[in-house]
Symmetry: C2
Subunit: 172 residues, 2 copies
């Protein structure tokens, strides 16, 4: 029950009732959709090149990032953030542990848990990666207008599925 300015592709036969298509053809904001695609590609592309030096990929980056942000988190918590399976996590986590970027320590209260921490080496890499994205983000914020950070924040939050929004923010 929201009004949607229809946008006809080339719709030859529009005569009949409600020949709707898929999720509805609203006037999709192609410009911003594409901008987001290109923006994200470059946003992760730069760190990718540094990661490749160590033989790592994007998945390793995500693990490094969230372990850095929440040192001592459990494997279960990390899986919940990343929304991947434990088998997927296992491979990259093993790489990072073997290479000495992350270490595990059994939980104090619950010794089944493997809490994750960055090593000194891991912090170096995590900060280097964060630096790249941080600088890019800072530049973007400056060009948008530094005072508009709240606008950007609301925009990005609203892009997230409502159910997940609270979770994402809590982690952030």
């Amino acid at each position: 029950m929201s009004k949607k300015p229809a946008l006809a592709p080339q719709a030859a036969s529009l005569g009949a009732g409600s020949e709707r298509v898929g999720a509805g053809k609203l006037d999709a904001d192609f410009e911003l959709i594409e901008l987001l695609f290109f923006a994200y590609r470059d946003f992760v592309g730069e760190p990718d090149r540094l990661l490749a030096v160590h033989g790592f990929g994007r998945a390793h980056h995500r693990v490094l990032h969230f372990v850095n942000r929440h040192q001592g988190l459990t494997v279960a918590e990390l899986l919940e953030i990343l929304e991947i399976t434990k088998q997927s996590l296992a491979r990259v986590l093993k790489d990072l542990i073997n290479a000495g970027f992350i270490e595990q320590r059994a939980g104090d209260e619950d010794r089944r848990q493997r809490r994750l921490y960055l090593t000194a080496q891991g912090e170096v890499l995590a900060y280097a990666l964060a630096g790249m994205q941080g600088q890019r983000m800072a530049r973007a914020l400056a060009e948008a207008g530094a005072a508009d950070r709240p606008v950007i924040k609301r925009f990005l939050e609203a892009l997230i599925d409502p159910e997940r929004r609270a979770t994402a923010l809590a982690k952030a």
Copy 2:
């Protein structure tokens, strides 16, 4: 009742810009960095589910999108936008052609070229996908403040590598 161990052990969440930083480590805006990660994940996740119905993936989406936006483009042009190899493109393009979503026609001037067009069926799918992302984008824009579209646009543009920016905009 399950005893839920406290999340985010050490990381006290802090507001906008200022993280404690050692000498040399810059002040990465972790909040926006993560928000962009979660936002993009959900932004592409919803279309993914529709694509899966047809046995397609994200790569097919990108091809559908850009062929829709630039009907009649050549394979070379598409490769330039996507920045992938022709072998990578070949597989998804073949899928889309075989399934009747995209068709090729030899160029008028240069008959070596295979210009790409959406079929009627292809347009249906492309618009359904665009509708999903368009609605999400519209919602995000509304929550950010519709008047702030220029801010968002500048922000996203500035996230793109400077060299690529012109190209991305031209295509958009």
